[in-house]
Point group: D2
Amino acid sequence: MLRPRQFASDNVSGICPEAMAALAEANRDHAPSYGADAWTARAEAAIRDLLGAPDAEVFLLFTGTAANALSLAALAPPFGVAYCHPVAHVANDECGAPQMLGHGLQLRTVGGAGGKVDPARLRERVGHEFLHSGKPAALTLTQATELGTVYSLGELRALRDAARDLGLKVHMDGARLANAIAALGARPRDVVEAAGLTALSLGGTKNGLLAAEAVVLFDREAARDFAYRRKQAGQLASKHRYLAAQWVGVLESGAWLRNAERANRVAAALEAGARRLGLEPVHPREANEVFLPLPDAALKGLEARGWAVYSDAAWGGARLVASWDSTDDDVRAFLDDLAAVLA
Amino acid sequence: MLRPRQFASDNVSGICPEAMAALAEANRDHAPSYGADAWTARAEAAIRDLLGAPDAEVFLLFTGTAANALSLAALAPPFGVAYCHPVAHVANDECGAPQMLGHGLQLRTVGGAGGKVDPARLRERVGHEFLHSGKPAALTLTQATELGTVYSLGELRALRDAARDLGLKVHMDGARLANAIAALGARPRDVVEAAGLTALSLGGTKNGLLAAEAVVLFDREAARDFAYRRKQAGQLASKHRYLAAQWVGVLESGAWLRNAERANRVAAALEAGARRLGLEPVHPREANEVFLPLPDAALKGLEARGWAVYSDAAWGGARLVASWDSTDDDVRAFLDDLAAVLA
Amino acid sequence: MLRPRQFASDNVSGICPEAMAALAEANRDHAPSYGADAWTARAEAAIRDLLGAPDAEVFLLFTGTAANALSLAALAPPFGVAYCHPVAHVANDECGAPQMLGHGLQLRTVGGAGGKVDPARLRERVGHEFLHSGKPAALTLTQATELGTVYSLGELRALRDAARDLGLKVHMDGARLANAIAALGARPRDVVEAAGLTALSLGGTKNGLLAAEAVVLFDREAARDFAYRRKQAGQLASKHRYLAAQWVGVLESGAWLRNAERANRVAAALEAGARRLGLEPVHPREANEVFLPLPDAALKGLEARGWAVYSDAAWGGARLVASWDSTDDDVRAFLDDLAAVLA
Amino acid sequence: MLRPRQFASDNVSGICPEAMAALAEANRDHAPSYGADAWTARAEAAIRDLLGAPDAEVFLLFTGTAANALSLAALAPPFGVAYCHPVAHVANDECGAPQMLGHGLQLRTVGGAGGKVDPARLRERVGHEFLHSGKPAALTLTQATELGTVYSLGELRALRDAARDLGLKVHMDGARLANAIAALGARPRDVVEAAGLTALSLGGTKNGLLAAEAVVLFDREAARDFAYRRKQAGQLASKHRYLAAQWVGVLESGAWLRNAERANRVAAALEAGARRLGLEPVHPREANEVFLPLPDAALKGLEARGWAVYSDAAWGGARLVASWDSTDDDVRAFLDDLAAVLA
């Protein structure tokens, strides 16, 4: 029997109050469809404001998989190559969406410590490409990474410089950008600038929205025809105001950052508790995820006590993720059970 | 200045109370993601029940464009041909989604009166195909049609028989299936059976949901790998319970049919009013749409009074669409203004 | 029993002596692969020279289907619309290659007399497109047309002007361009200029080559990455000199035009003979094809006498095609049998 | 100044006499197009005979890239995963053709010594796949490998068994299958059977043909619609007899095997000479390729003496490839220069 509150992922939690209230508020009268409504204008303005990018173009859509794949499709041609870390979501968890919605583009992995692409390895790898291997086109970075680490501004700048030298446009999978921002104590615009982004998948769902993400394009050329891409991929909402309202709800209220800060704080408490139990996290805990070296018996024990915990060889451990609504009580309950199964 | 209530489309209206309440109810505790939650099981059961198809497989997703394109991708290979009416949504309003998400498949149009595919013309057209023109694979019908008409069960049976003879699988774009069901006074299962459906795009958004559609597959073979298709196309919701809850909301309460009946009734009132003003509908008004032969001056006049009314040469007139929440007052307000601009 | 010489198509004939000799001559020593050889440079220069386009970029490949589809992929994005005549090869005889190799692009047909796109209808059709229907991107013209007619320079200019006004780039399917050039008595460069071409599929196979076509791009931007497209589509020959040598063989010798002139002349003789038998061609015979209104009994009679003759409702008659090696004797033999079966 | 005879690749050599003679012989009279001619039937029969597979279906086409990509497209759905070795041609030298012509399918690399996929690693890797990562669908093996090694029949059987257990269909990239057959001293049918092939890319170009490959499908289901795939990809030759004749030329005469035996023999002489110069091949020389650890200075020296020699970090050395027409004199000339530049 599953427990009603979990650390399995930040997509097992629900919709935060600010988003829910905005949905209700948007549900009055009729409104123009396909984004010609007032909520959409407000959401787009709020996102531009968040990112300090008054000229950026914003496209709301439903899933992170679509946001990532369509961003890459906008940055790389069908015969292009996009580089990512071997543990990246695009490479392991999107069922070939980048290849399919990118019309045949290739993903090539470039490793690095802590789930972060190593700029020197990137330079070396791209140096080997030629007509027959495909055209180097894009670099996609995950912030925070799949291993719960966060690129520092300096690390982003080094990758931006490498990308510029190599002729690659940079995309960021920001499914957990809020958590990274909370961890860095930087402004979103600092990350955008340090990484030299052309495209950003701005995550909302893991932050407390129903199913709402955004693609932000910082370059006129990349943005020019993106509206067609979104429509052709079946990602244009007819009742667009409801996507927009959720964003307005968390951005105008400041909940976007608060939700992430709380998730990070709870993850830190999980980490501290795990250390007290003698468990050293597999990767530095920098945002809202903690990876622990749990033996199989412990995993089974947790499962028997109603906890869903995912483990994957590629992660090197079992993953715990705190959500916008995770509490200290949740941490205590989990740590108690963890202590018991480890005993 | 746009008026707060319109007849521009059934996607300008909002979320119906039953769906909204279900969203709120689903927003408790954590729940497994990607469809492993209890709401999803309930929604799928409710849809199977609605369609009298206990063995059908149900896949929830976000938009009608995706539902149609992925259905066709499941029914037709990349080198296949799908046949549709020239006014079909797939051919005119989906920006090439069937071709792109269908990996290159061809749409071929086959005409017929009242927005309905003519079975004799279908037989003739398919008879001309050969290796070089592509493999005949699917027939896609819109019910209710883009012109607001409704295929009778007899008409569907004639098309089913033609499709069977020609080796075509049948898909139905049911964005407004509820309206068609209300118009026919038949059960959904009667339509499914009469049309010999392999795949159905079951529409929820125009019925009062936020952004929730379903693909229903009546054939094991077609359904086998559809979960991969949905995921690869970026249409798998992580917080899947919210898609599911909306469906539960309208299906378990009976609102699905009630919403459609009301929209049809209001459209009938619009039609009656238009006739009183001397306007003969361009197509028979059978569901929730009325097409009127309005002169440009009248369209401009309505616009000046705050009405958004779409007109398209392919429709042969201006289109009015009633929603689940349209009222007799709305009709009166519109007809008053219509009378004024026609005067 | 099929007769050894036919008028079924200009792809039933073989390789002309000039191309065969060049193949033999190229078959000495080793040569760099993938186009880095001397034959390729010569062939590209000869094609630029033929077209009076010193800056054009030339890409040799194997089939007309690939040449057309990859040209359209270079001119139109995946969400783009390419306009063609309803009888065009791309729409009827390429099994969805433009849609598949064009990554989902849509073909939209625009009619006109004699197999030629009507510029006024093109303007009207494009005027209806919007975000949901796809982005108008390209116009593709067939010269000579599928109905054996030839666009005059004036007709091409009118279409070029329409395309320019509508923001469409122009592609020409020149599978039988040599026949059109021979018919017009114009220079190839006149056709290129009158049509305002961005891309040309230059046909070699029907002119007497083994399997050798060329895509010629008149615009730097369109040409920039075409080498990748050709490679990714499996159309880059490793022993590239053999594609090149065939082109050198027919271009440096003047056989390209002579082959077409002869085919046109023989077709004219067929036409004249048919008229003497009381048959009025269905379309004006302007190049190397004659379309005759043959009753089924006549078609069966011809078949019984060993003639392969294709008939198609879309053509409005039975098609006879003269090849680079067709002779007056062939014409006499056919007309004798035609007279017999009509008697 | 490049020397007229090289060891750069087996695609720098020309067309062998048996193929050339067949081309000339096929160049008589007219013949039905698109494969309905007598040469095609003969070639298909010869290929079935070569492979001991009377029920296999044979599809001739132009390039190995197309043969591989279309084979994978036939074996794996768009959301499928095909496994290959990291040095495989499909992964490094086909510009994303498998992804594009495979409609989005993913290639996943599985390592192993000597350019050969390790069955244990394959089992482990496939064990990690789930809905979000894609559907395991195909295993593609290169025989002879990109590193010049040859899978033994035992190695193939172990991979076949793994593939069967994992639900993967097996494809073989046989661009140099003849060389592998010559090396193994086995019959082609033994390789087909040991590997449990569903699809084979049978290479002709590197064996002495102009540009002629074949896809052989050993399974009715996989073969059923392949004719459409070939056409849609622009790989259906209109003058199909010329593709067929080349195959007839080398198969009916036995040149197919003789050409490979000679290339292997010459490569063995190169290897022996290199050893005499103190160079130990980087990989076991088993077919017609030798990989040598040449310092940069030596590569530059060879280049200065007119030799084109390719080196790649992924290969771990410089590659020499013998062709069907390589001679002992060529070997002597090369070794003399190699000795000089190493001195």
